[in-house]
Assembly symmetry: C2
Homo-oligomer: 663 residues x 2
Amino acid sequence: MTVQTSPTIAHDRMANAIRALSMDAVEAANSGHPGMPMGMADVATVLYSKFLKFDAAQPGWADRDRFVLSAGHGSMLLYSLLYLTGYPEMTIEQIRNFRQLGSMTAGHPEYGHAPGIETTTGPLGQGIATSVGFALGERILNARFGNDLVDHYTYVVAGDGCLMEGISQEAITLAGHLKLSKLIVLFDDNGISIDGPVDLTTSEDQLARFKAAGWDVQAIDGHDPKAIEAAIAKARASDTPSLIACKTIIGYGAPKKQGSAATHGSPLGAEEIAGARAKLGWDFPPFEIPEDVLSAWRAVGKRGETARLAWQERVDDLGSDIQEELDRVLAGTLPAGFDQAVEAFKKAVVEEKPKIATRMSSQRVIDALAPVLPELIGGSADLTGSNNTKAKEAAIVKAGDYRGSYIHYGIREHGMAAAMNGLALHGGVIPFGGTFMVFTDYCRPAIRLSALMGLRVIYIMTHDSIGLGEDGPTHQPVEHLAALRAIPNLNVFRPADTVETAEAWQIALQSTGTPSIISLTRQALPTLRTTHASENLTAKGGYVLAEAEGKRQVTLIGTGSEVSLAMEARDKLKAEGIGAAVVSLPCWELFDAQPESYRAQVLGDCPRIAVEAALGFGWERYTGAGGCFVGMTGFGASAPAPALYKHFGITADAVAAAAKARI
Amino acid sequence: MTVQTSPTIAHDRMANAIRALSMDAVEAANSGHPGMPMGMADVATVLYSKFLKFDAAQPGWADRDRFVLSAGHGSMLLYSLLYLTGYPEMTIEQIRNFRQLGSMTAGHPEYGHAPGIETTTGPLGQGIATSVGFALGERILNARFGNDLVDHYTYVVAGDGCLMEGISQEAITLAGHLKLSKLIVLFDDNGISIDGPVDLTTSEDQLARFKAAGWDVQAIDGHDPKAIEAAIAKARASDTPSLIACKTIIGYGAPKKQGSAATHGSPLGAEEIAGARAKLGWDFPPFEIPEDVLSAWRAVGKRGETARLAWQERVDDLGSDIQEELDRVLAGTLPAGFDQAVEAFKKAVVEEKPKIATRMSSQRVIDALAPVLPELIGGSADLTGSNNTKAKEAAIVKAGDYRGSYIHYGIREHGMAAAMNGLALHGGVIPFGGTFMVFTDYCRPAIRLSALMGLRVIYIMTHDSIGLGEDGPTHQPVEHLAALRAIPNLNVFRPADTVETAEAWQIALQSTGTPSIISLTRQALPTLRTTHASENLTAKGGYVLAEAEGKRQVTLIGTGSEVSLAMEARDKLKAEGIGAAVVSLPCWELFDAQPESYRAQVLGDCPRIAVEAALGFGWERYTGAGGCFVGMTGFGASAPAPALYKHFGITADAVAAAAKARI
C-alpha cells in the first residue's frame, strides 16, 4: 500500500493517523469502539481525500456532500476526520476528552455538538435511513434550483448492525425505488458483530439483497486504496443508489486482536496499542500527529474551498428573487404570507363551523398552506387517503422526476420517519408525513431522534383513539399519547376542532427546534372555537374554552375528540345548576411551559375531571387530589366507534356523573 | 378451473364460499377488507383441503400445522375457513356479526377470541415475524421430543404490506439463517396496496430478496389450484424456508373493482356484490352456503382426525416420565423444583450480599433456574455479554441443530420480540430475550402484541438509565420506563438488588397471561434485602424496605438503582433527626393492584419524594400533592455514569434536600 493519496504523504500514514487517534482516544476514555475506525480508516481516507466535496472551514456550505456515519459507535472515525481536516472547534483537546461530560466528542456522534456532525447516529440503522432523506432532499432541491446550485452526494458508512436492522430494508427499498443515485453506502463488511462472527447470526447475501432493491453493488478489499477509489468513482457514475461492500479487518493494525469481536466495543489495552504502533510503524505519542501528516490532512480540508467559492459566485449571480427564495428555504424561515394564510383560514372556519374529522381539518390546513409554503414536503406510509396528507395540487415525487412535493413512502413507517429527519437535516424543505397514531410505535426510534436532534419534523397521526372503530385493538392507540408525551422536546398536539388543528399546524411549522405530533381523529367533530381570535390559543397548550356560568364548581379538562364531549357534559351540569368550566388542553408540553399563575387560573382550584379516549397514565399531573379521569383502562375492541365510546363509558353522562360525585 | 379439491365438489365452489362470506360480511359490517380474502381464496382452499394438518374439532392439538394470517386485515379469509371447516364456536352468527362489539370476529384476528386464531395480526409484518417463532418452537421441541411427537409446518399468508415493513427483513433473514425449512410463506402478490398499485411505492424483486436471505422461492398463478398444490408440495420438501409468490387478483370475482385498490379496504357495495355473484356463479343469499359445499368443507375440517388420533396414541405410548414432561411443558406449568430453586437462590444471596449490577444478578438467576427449567429459551439481539442472558450451560440453537436453548437473534430487536411471541404462542417453551432498555423502542409494536395477547414473554432490558454512561443520550433511556408502564397488561419490573431481581424473574415466570419487562442496570448495586423472606415482596409491587426510625416524617420512594440512593438519603436525614422511610417500588402495575389500604400504608401520609434516574412522567400518581420527584428532566449525556448522576442532580444529597424542603 504505497499509493499516494496526498501528493507527498503516503495513503497509509494518513489512514494510520485515524487509527492512532481512535485507539488512543478510546484508551484514554477507557470506553468506546476502536475496531470500526481502525478497520474503515482506509476507506474514509480515500473518500475524504479524493471525493468528498467539503470545505472544513465552512461546514455549513449548503451544497457540500453529506457524510453520515451510520455505524455511530465508530464515532472516533468521524471525530478523527473532523480534527485532521481542520473543522473549527474540533481541537485535539476535544479528541482527548472523548466521551467526557461537556465535550463535543460524545460516545456517539450528536448532531449540534460540533460542526461536521450531520446527524445523530448510534441507534443502528438510523443513519442509513436518515441518509435516504438527505439524498431525497438533495434531489428535490436540485429539481427546484438546478444543477448549479444543488448537486451533491450523500455517503454513508454502515456496518452489519445497520444492515441487519429492519429499518435498513425500508430505507434501501425506498432509495432504490426513487433511484437516489447520489446515495452511496460504504458497507464495513468486517464480518464481526458484538456477539462474535456474523455467521453466528446471519447468512444473507447483502449484495444480492441490495441488488433486489434496485441498487448498484460492488465488493472490494476495503484496505486497497486503489480499489476503494475505483469503486467510489464507479458508484458516483451509477444511475441508481450504490452499495460498496468493503471487506475490512476490524481493528486493523492491532496485532493480536484485529479481526475479532474483542476490538469492537472495548479499549485495546496498553500492550495491544503498543503492538499496533509497532505494526503500523506509527511511533508517535498518543494524540500527536506528525506535522507532515497533519498538513496533508489539512490540505484535504481546504480542497473544497475553490468549489465552494465558485458555488457562492453562482448564487450571487442569481436574480434577487431566486436568491432570496433559496436563502429563505435554506435558512428555514417561513415566508411573509404564512401568518396571513393561517389567519385567513381560521377566519373562514369560524364562519363555516364545519363538523368534520380533524384529519379532514388538517387536509384543509395543508391545502391552505401548500401554496405559500413550497418547501412543505408531504407524504404518508401508504395511508394517503386516510391520513389526508396530500395537498390537492401536490405532484408526486418519482424516480427521475423530483419536482413534486408529495412522497408515497410505502408501508415503511420507520423509514418514513427517518427519511423525514434526513430531509429536515438537509434543509431547504419542511417534511411532514402521516400514518395511524398506533403506528407511532413503528417509527418511535426515529421520532426520538427528531426530538433529540431538535428537528422540525411534523408527524400527522390520524385515527387517534377507539374512535377509529372496527379495526379493533391492534389499530386503536390507548397508550400512545402518554408514550409520546413522555418523550422530551416533542410537542404532542391533540386539537379539538378545525381551528385548533390550524393552530397546531402553525406552531409546528414555527417550531424550528422541536418536532411535533399532530394527533387527529377519524370521526367528525364540531367546531368549538366559534369566534375568531387572532391569538394562537393552542400556543399556550391549554386554555379555558368555556368558563362556567356562575361560580365554577368543577373544571372539565379534555383534549381532541373529548373536548366536545366535555362541552356536552357542561350543558348537562348547567341544567342541574352546576357551574362547570371546560378547559381544552391540546398540548401538555406547551401548557407546562406557561407560568404557574396562568396554569393555576386555567385549571382552577375546584375538582378537576379529565376526559380523554386513552389511558389515564400521566393525567394525575392535572387532575391532582380530588380529581378523576374518565377514559380507557385497557386495550380497545372492534366495533363501530359510537358503540365503543358507550361500551368503555366515555360519555358526557359519565363525565357529568364524575363531576357530581366530586363537588 | 375444474380441478376437484374435494372428491365431489369442484375447487371453485369451495373457494367461492370464502369469497361470498367475505364480501357479505364486510358489506353487513359496512367496514372491512374484502379484496384480500377474495384474492387468496384459491390458495387458502388448496392449503386447507390438501395440506394443512388440523382437526377442526380439536383446535388445540399440539402437533397441528399453524396457519398465520399475517395480512390480518383480510380476517374474513380466516373466519370463513374456521366456519366452513367447522371449528367450534365459529358459527354463522359470528360471521354475520363481523366487526361488532363482543363478537369473535373482530376487525383483525384477535388471539383468544376464537379457537383457530393462532395469533393476533393486523399491525403489518408482525404475523410473518411471529411465525418465525412458531417455526423455531417447532424445531426446538422436535429436537427434544422427536419426529413422532413434534413435526408440523407453519404456513403464513403475507401481503405487500407485511413484506415492505422492516420487521419482515429481520424475520426472513433470521429464518433463513436458522434454515427453518417448515416455514412456508404464501405471498399474496396482488400488486395493490392502499395508496394504489405497489409500483407507486416499491420496485423490489421479492423473489431475489428472499433468495438472498437463503429461502427457496417460487412464483405461481395464485388462481391455479394445480400450480398452488405443486408449489406447496415443493416448498414442503425444501430444506430451507420457502416463499411462494402467488400472483393474484385482489377482489377476484368483483366485476368492476377486482384488481384495484377499491376492493382493498371498503365494502364492495350492493351492485358490485350482485355482479360478483353472477360472475362467480354463486346464486345463494348472503351467509348461506349450499349443503354440498358446506359438507365438503366440513370433511376438510375432519381430515386430520386420524392423524391426530395416531399422534395421541404415540403420546399415550410414551414412558410416563416423558409424557409428563411433554404434558407439563405444553401446559406451560412450572416444574415442582421451581419455587425451591428461587428460594435457595434468595437465601444464598442474603448470605453473600453481592454488590453487582442487576444484569449480573439476572445472569445468576438464569444460571440457577436453567437446570430446573429446560423449557427456558434465552437469547439476545447481539448483546449476549452485555445483557447477560446466556446460561452457562446453554447450547446455541443453530441451523440443523435445534437442541440448544439459546438463540443469537442478531441485531434484530423487533424480529426477536416477535419471534418470542411466536415461541410463547407455540407453547412448550418459555422465551426470554435481551437488548438495551433504550431499544425497547425498536421492538415496541411486538411488545404491545405480547401484552394484548397476554403472553408469557420475558424481556431482559439492561443498561436501563444514564447509568450506562459514555454511550450517551442515544443509548440512555429516560422516557422508556414511562412509555412501557403506559402499556396495559405489561409488568415492568425495575429491581433494586439481586433479591428483587430473583423475585421479578419468579413472578415473570409465573405470569402465564402477562409479559414482563425486567429493567436492569449496567452499574453495580449493593444488596439491600439483607434478611431472607420466603415471601416474594416484589409481588406486591412496592413495600417498605426500611421504615423510619422514630416517627415517619417523609417517605422516599425509589426503583432499581435509585433505591440504594434513597437508603443513603435516609441515613443523611436520620443524622439530622428526620425520620424517613424508604419504599422500594419495583413494579407499579402490581402495586396498583394491591388494596387501597395496603398502598396507603406503604406510601404513608407524610410528604413523598420519588427518585428514579428517568423522567418523572407518571410519578404524580405516587408523589401526590406536596410531594416531589428527583430525576431526569430531559435527555442524558455522554460521560462516565458517576459524573452523569452528579451532573443531573440525582444524588442522595438532592433527595435529602428535597425531603427537608417539604417536611
